[in-house]
Every structure is written in C-alpha cells, then in structure tokens.
Symmetry: D3
C-alpha cells in the first residue's frame, strides 16, 4: 500500500486544491491532506476552521483523510508512513521554491519522494493569498472557491470590519 | 475613444515610470495614471505627496490625467471606462507575478485587457523600492529619479533621522 | 488614428491567434495581421495557404486587414505607419526571447512600441508547432484550431503520406 | 493496480534515468519504461540498441518492463492502461516545455496525469545530448553513465570516425 | 594586486558559503569576507556572533580577511579598493534579484565588477534562512553547516524557548 | 599569476563581446580569448576570418591574447593553465544553459572555475546570431558591432547573394 501526503496551509481551501486532491487520490492507495501549522505566520482562519472547511467541501473520497501537523513536514511524513509528498505547481517562481524545499526534504528524509502535479489550467493563477486579498476588497471569487468557503470568507471579513 | 490605466504605488515615481507613461500616452486616447492606496502597506510618502510629485515631474501630456484609488483595481477601471491596464515589465519574476495578477483581473473583469510594455533598457533594474533603499543609505540616484523627487527623498530621510 | 501590427508565421493559425486578434482589434483603430515569410525555414503551408486560412477563419472585424511581409519587421512596420507591434506571451521562455526581439526592434525603430498581450488561459500551451506535431500523429486537435484549419491539416498530412 | 509510464529517447540511458526509474518504481505497482521513436530525428543509437542498453543496465526491478512506441504518447498510454506519465525535471527551461507538453496531453487524454519527479541532485546537469557531445570529444563521462553504455558510446564513435 | 569582496548576512555561515569562499580565494590576490549589517532586519545572530562563527569555521586561507560594513556595499567596496564583488548564484530567482542589484551597483560604481560563481552542486538548495527554519524545528542539518555552527544554532534556539 | 579564458564562437564579434573582454582583462593577469571550432555547425565566417576580426577590433590590451581550439573546452583550458572560464550572461534562458555547461565542466575539471559576468546593459539583447539575422535583412547594426565587422558582414552577404 502506498500513501501520499498533500500538505498545505489551506487558508482557505480553493477549487485548485480540491482539483489536485481529486487527481492525487486516483494515483495512491491512501492520501493524507494535512493542514500545516506555522506559529510564525498569522493565518486568516484557525486550524480548526481550515479543517472544518476541508471536511465540508471535499467530495466523498474513501481513500482521503484529513490531518494537521506542526513542525517538520518530514517528521510528520515518517510517522504516517508516507511514500510521497504531493506538491502542486503553477508557475516558475513556484517551481524554484518547491524544488529547493524538495531537495532539503530529500536531504532530511532520503526515502521520501516529492511528486509535482499540475492543477487544472483554469486554476493556474489561483492561490489562497490572492483569494483572501480579492475577497477582502469585495471582489467576486465565486468561481474560485466552493460556496461554503465563500460564505466563511464573507463572515470573517465582516467580523474584522465590525 | 480608448482609455488606458497605468496603476502603481509610485512611492516615489522614478524615471522608469515617466518613460513608460510617455510611451503609453502615445498609444491610447486617454491615459489615467492612478496611485494605488494599500492600507496594509506602509509607504514612505503619503498619497498626497505621491500625487504632488507626479504632478510636478510629469511632462505636459494633454491626454494624461492623475487619479488615485483604493480597493480592487478592476472596480476602479470599470467606473472609469478603462479599456486596458498598462503594466511595465522588467524581469522574469516580475512577469510571473504580473501574469498571475492579469489572469485574476481577467476573471474579475473579462473585457479589461492587460497590456505589458517595456521601459527603456536603461531603467531595466530600476524600482521604487531600490530607489528608497539606496537613497536612505546616501547613494547617488540622481540619474534614476527627477531632481524634484531626489529633493523630496532627501527631505524625508532627513526628517526620519532627526 | 493608431495602427497595430500582429506579425506571425501562422503555420497554421490557431484558436489562440484568433483570440489574440480579437482582443487586439478592440484596443487599436486598425490592426494589420501579417504573415511573416522566412526563406530559411520550411513552413508546412505556403504563404498563400496561410493567408487563405486566416481569411476564412477570422471573424468579421472591420478594422482588421491581412497582409504579409518579408525581411525586417521594422521596415514593414514603418512603411505601414504602425504604432505598436502586438506579441502574445504564454510562458517564461517565450517572454525571454520576445524581450530580446523587442529590444532589438526598439534599437532599429525607436518610435515603434512592442506591446505584450495574454491569450485566453485555455490557449496557454497552444503553439502552431505543437498543433502540427500532434496533428501529424493523428491526435485530436479539434478544440485547438477552427474546423477549416483542421481539414487543411488533414489534407496536407494525407498528401505527405501518399 | 496503478501503472506509470516513463517515456524517453534514452539515446543513451544515463545514470540520471536509472535513478529516476528506481524512484518511480517504488511509487507505482507497475512501471513501463518506453523508448520513444521519432522518425524525424536522427538518434545516435537504433531503437534496438537503446532497448538493449536499458535491458543490461537496469537493476532487477520486478515491476518494471521495457517497451517502445511510435506516434502519440497518449495513444500508447491508453492502450497500456497507464494512469500516470512520469517526467523528470531538472531546470526551468525543462519545466516550461514539460508543462506545455503536459497540458497538451491533458487536452488529448483528460484522465492521464503527468507527474514530475526530481532526479538525484548530482544528475541535475545530466542529459543524453550532453553525454553524446562530451563523449564524442573524448571527455571522461564514466561517472555519468553505466560502464556498459560507456563502452557502447566508444564503439559507436570509433565506427563513425573510421 | 586584485581584491575581491564576498558580502553576505552569514546568519549563520553555511557549508555553501565556505565552499564559495574557498573557490573565490583561489581566483583573487585578496578576498574580503564581509558581514553586512542591515538595521531594518532582525538577524538570529548578532554581528559579533556571525563574525566569530566565520573566524572559527573558515579554513586557514592566508589571503582571506573578515570584515563587516553598514550602508551601501559600493561605498565599502570603494574604501577597501575592491575590484570585484563575488555573488553566489543557485537558482533563477536568485539570479534575477542578483542581476538587478549588480546593475544598480554598476550605476553607483562603474568600475566595480560583479562576478557570479556557482557553489558546489550539493549546496544548490542551501540557504541560511532554510538552515534557521529547519534547525528551529529540530531537523538534522549536520551535513549543511560546520559542527561549531550547529552547536551555536542549538544554543540559540534553546535560549529562545526557555 | 591567474589566467582566464573567454571562449566563444565570435561569428562575428560584437560590441557586447568587446565590452566583456575589457571588463575581464581588468580582473585577471592574463586573458585568453579563444574562438571555438565546432565542426557540426556552419558558421558564417571561417575561423581565420573570425580571428582576424578580433585582431582588428580589440583595443590594445597587453594581457589579452587570441587563440582558437577544437574539442573539449576543459582540455584546452588545462593545457593553457587556465584558472577560470569567463561566460557572459544576459538572460534567464542563457543562464540555465550556462549553468548546466558549467556543472558538466566542473565534473570534467574540478579545479576550473566558471565565472559569470554581465555585459553593459545596452548590450543585454545583443547576440551574434541576431546581428547576422538583422544584417542579412539589411537592418542597421552600426551601433552593435565595430565598423570593421559591419563591413565584413556586408561583404559576406553581398557574396552570398551574387
């Protein structure tokens, strides 16, 4: 049995993430979608909120389970018996940074492969940070995130303003 | 009549910006040069100061007018009846980010085109942030910004030190 | 009145080219779509065939006219009173080469601007050479070129085999 | 059961290819390593020679089998029931071209995923064409290809000279 | 006599820096390794700590001396009679930024050349920031920094936690 | 004494090459400018013509000498006691290829450093192939090559036509 790990901040999950999760789930026996906790960054949504959104919006995929982790990715991957880490790549700058991370992770865990996959072309420009930015300014992002996430974003920004 | 919009932070305006404004003004009937206000960033100059500098240093071009906006670029563009957004490109990393922005803007406003133009080669490396950095350390930037902007920078950094 | 020039090999014209022609035609008073003749390259279609395909597949746009040229782009542009050359950009390697060309052209004709525009996202990966390659191997490219061009490609490759 | 396909020209196979085959074989139930035949290119080694070299130098991996194909990659992949195509990526230019190919292949076969993997860092600069070039000029490539391939290269270039 | 300058933050020095210092020292009569002080950034180690680490871990190279500077690189370089500034390049994004810096520095000091050199391939992915990040999370970086630096990092992060 | 090697095809030498030769000559005790002979490519000018043009157009630099070589760069470099190979870099695609070459050369000759230098900004877009292309089409390249090279190009293309 082969297990893949798709780590991310998912702040919030976008249609691009969902697309990549569906693609990855077809290639591996088990897929762990894990929210990374980084104490030095200030996310818009708490870990609990991010996991709850993933829970609601992911289609029912029997071999996908949600989790979260703090600390080194490779430590979490080892404990979970992960064979491959999935990373989505969209653009060149992405790729540069991803490559550097993947080489560092190979140094830390030589048996853990990093596998790069392409999201659907229509999500090429999509990132959680752009979704947050545009949403906070009142832009229409209804084609970029599930409707549940859209509602959560609107609630969050309404709270912030009040 | 076709209207183009050249948005930017202009903190401060450089010779590279002026070069691009002159090139753009030749291609469109009307050109709006608009200072973008971003409440999350700490500019060196206030919006008023940035607009005043543009006013002083721009050559007299009858079809160019100054403005400023807050919020989504596409909302401002729609209200002003803009046909094309002008973006200067200098390097690959620039281009990656610009491309992502342009695709997001096309999603938000399908009829608004983004048009990329090249500044003169001598300004390839020039950015407002580099101008601020070098100027704050006492470097000679007299070939990179108009003399009026140079004086404003020196005044600003003198204020900060005292 | 401002005139733009969209030069290319168009061997053959693809949906990506048509998309860019429609976008450009909205921004300029007149648009010249010109087939470039390069005696050192072996095109699949003759200049006449390429112009005929453009004639058939372009939507009726009153301010667009077809032409062809041999020799330096800037010489043709000067004779036609062109203000801006339109170039489509899709990817980083594209952009590098395009930038180099544009700087050379500015050296040869300082008043001629090069303007870069983005095709629709669904045509990001599309190029005439890939269309020729896939079509010659029997791949289905019916979503990438107009049906008339599809038929011309099939005829051409049938001739070659017999 | 999931099947992956690692296509290539393998003209000749290098240590970088072998490294990637071993990494891929761990992630999929079955791996097909397939020599692509391109009648328009002039390879140094015949298909038979390239397959023979792969046969000799690949370590015994029970779930890897060799094959070859002509025509469209996606047609071969469909016939073989392939779930994922493996591509090694080394550098940005690589990645640009690979991305374009992968998007075209997704257009032709929406259920076929392309998966990018990194060779070991020591093979970052390694390509078959560089191996051929350096070997033809008498350079020492004994750390870059298996000794059997080294001998075949020397024989081939000795034939060419005589 | 020709003098080169290798400036950096060295927060902390890594095996990649040491590799580049050894390579540079062979090409110039004198090499100044200089810690750059940037009052706007919060380094992990003080300037004194960074210089002390360099002192301990650098191999005895008679033509290398340590120094530090604040303000413009070109001002320091001029005072020291430097002919060339050495910059290590690892990846494309690096190179873009480095190129921009080098062009700005050439504008400020036309006679000062910037020279780009490659670290050993095994250090391609190595940066001080990644070393700090991984070390703070308890990752094993013993192959990436000298043992003395490793101990200093562990002490520093132990202090921070307590 | 340190010796650098600046290899190239120089088909023909451009103002960009001359700029880089002058910059390199200041940093090393001796600089060998060497015309590379590649029997598989069809140059416009013979080796003798290329060397003659270099001889005529290079300014008198006492520590620069001209040479030519065939075969592996590293073999020539070793025989000449070269410490560093100079490569000019202009753009990202350049850099990718140059990096790959430099890593291969380091594999073949570990003690030979590759040093990358920037030509003057005004020659960023300049390459011999573009000079040949534009010159063959009658474009004005008088600011890009010395007048002697300009005359040689005109003679060469006149011969070809007759």
């Amino acid at each position: 049995m082969r297990t893949a790990l798709y780590p991310g901040t998912f702040d919030p999950v976008t249609n691009g993430h969902i697309d990549l999760i569906q693609r990855s789930a077809k290639l591996f026996d088990q897929l762990i979608v894990a929210v990374a906790i980084n104490r030095r960054k200030q996310p818009l949504f708490t870990v609990e909120e991010r996991l709850a959104m993933l829970e609601v919006v992911l289609p029912p995929l029997p071999n996908v389970r949600l989790d979260h982790f703090e600390g080194l990715l490779v430590d979490f991957a080892k404990k979970q018996g992960v064979d491959a880490v999935i990373r989505g790549i969209r653009a060149v700058s992405d790729y540069e940074f991803e490559f550097q991370m993947a080489l560092m992770n190979r140094n830390l865990a030589p048996n853990l492969e990093t596998v790069f996959m392409m999201p659907s072309q229509e999500y090429t420009y999509l990132s959680s940070s752009m979704v947050r930015e545009v949403s906070s300014l009142g832009g229409d992002i209804s084609t970029l995130v599930p409707s549940y996430v859209l509602a959560q974003l609107q609630t969050k920004f309404a709270e912030k303003k009040s």
